[in-house]
Amino acid sequence: MPPVGPRSGDAIFANVERVNAELFTLTYGAIVRQLLTDLEEVEEVNKQLDQMGYNIGIRLIDEFLAKSNVSRCVDFKETAEVIAKIGFKMFLGVTASVTNWDADGTCCSIVLEDNPLVDFVELPDTCQGLYYCNILSGVVRGALEMVSMKTEISWIRDMLRGDDAFELQVKLLKQVPEEYPYKDDE
């Protein structure tokens, strides 16, 4: 059986079922709006969005792996490229770029020029501390955790705060190998 190479993000995006982009954007907006009403504190909303993203991420990783045929990444650099080029394309229809590597290759930035989540969005004065797209950082964190990478993710640039792009800093904390989950005496 010849090994099957990874499929490109475009190819997968073209093949999966999609929903109307506006419906998607507005639904996400409605969720954030409801969280703001329910939780009142902007900080709490950030946390909740991150948690929701995390819950999505730990499931989404399997869909990603099953559909993309990506089998293994040699290093974190390749992982970041795969997230930016295949992951974002497959699930959001946009391509991101990876920049700002630190010297030991454990910290980088994923830059999104285009982000379908924020069409029609303007942050009012009362919500200045809100990371509107915090769900994305949660998704990436959750997905990477399922492939044994503990990461820390923070927003460096945010278009809703007047920057020219979205920049997500991904920092690899440690890689956890699979361990025998049972105790000897069980």
């Binding site: 499931r59 990783i61 399997d62 099953a66 293994r72 990444c73 190998p177 361990e179 049972y182």
Partner: protein
């Protein structure tokens, strides 16, 4: 790391040609996990193509080392697939069945569609999705 599936519902029980006999025992999970874990470690240790090898039994990162995909005894064949996210899928079949790796990929896709996308399923718990079971059953019957 989590071992999925109860005895009556795990993919292990869906043996092609009905060879996959099940002992209704919890120990089977541990035994199977231990077997796969050790065998993987052993195959990586035996690998002549990589010079630097970890000691036997040392846990590996996903994608590290090499991986085996099947073994055959005189009474059955076991085909194994592990996703980088740690999902392990096993098919126990008649010893003369051919290469089942494509089937395992297909089953992984079924798992994504019917289990992962089921909002009521909590990741890490035994799979109790009727739809998954019936679709898997149908598929396994179709390849036998």
């Amino acid at each position: 790391m989590q071992f999925f599936g109860g005895t009556e519902i795990s993919p292990v029980s869906a043996g092609v040609n009905g060879v996959g006999e099940q002992r209704p025992h919890d120990q089977d999970h541990k035994l199977m996990f231990g077997l796969l874990f050790s065998l993987k470690s052993l195959t990586a240790k035996m690998d002549p193509t990589t010079p630097d090898k970890a000691n036997l039994g040392v846990p590996q990162l996903p994608g590290q080392g090499c991986s085996f995909h099947s073994f055959r005894t005189n009474t059955y064949k076991l085909t194994f697939m592990e996703s980088p996210s740690g999902i392990k899928i096993i098919l126990v079949t008649h010893p003369r069945t051919g290469d089942l790796r494509e089937s395992l990929k297909y089953i992984y896709n079924l798992y994504v569609e019917y289990v992962v996308k089921n909002p009521l399923y909590t990741p890490g718990t035994p799979i109790r999705c009727e739809l998954f079971n019936t679709t898997l059953d149908q598929y396994v019957r179709s390849i036998s």
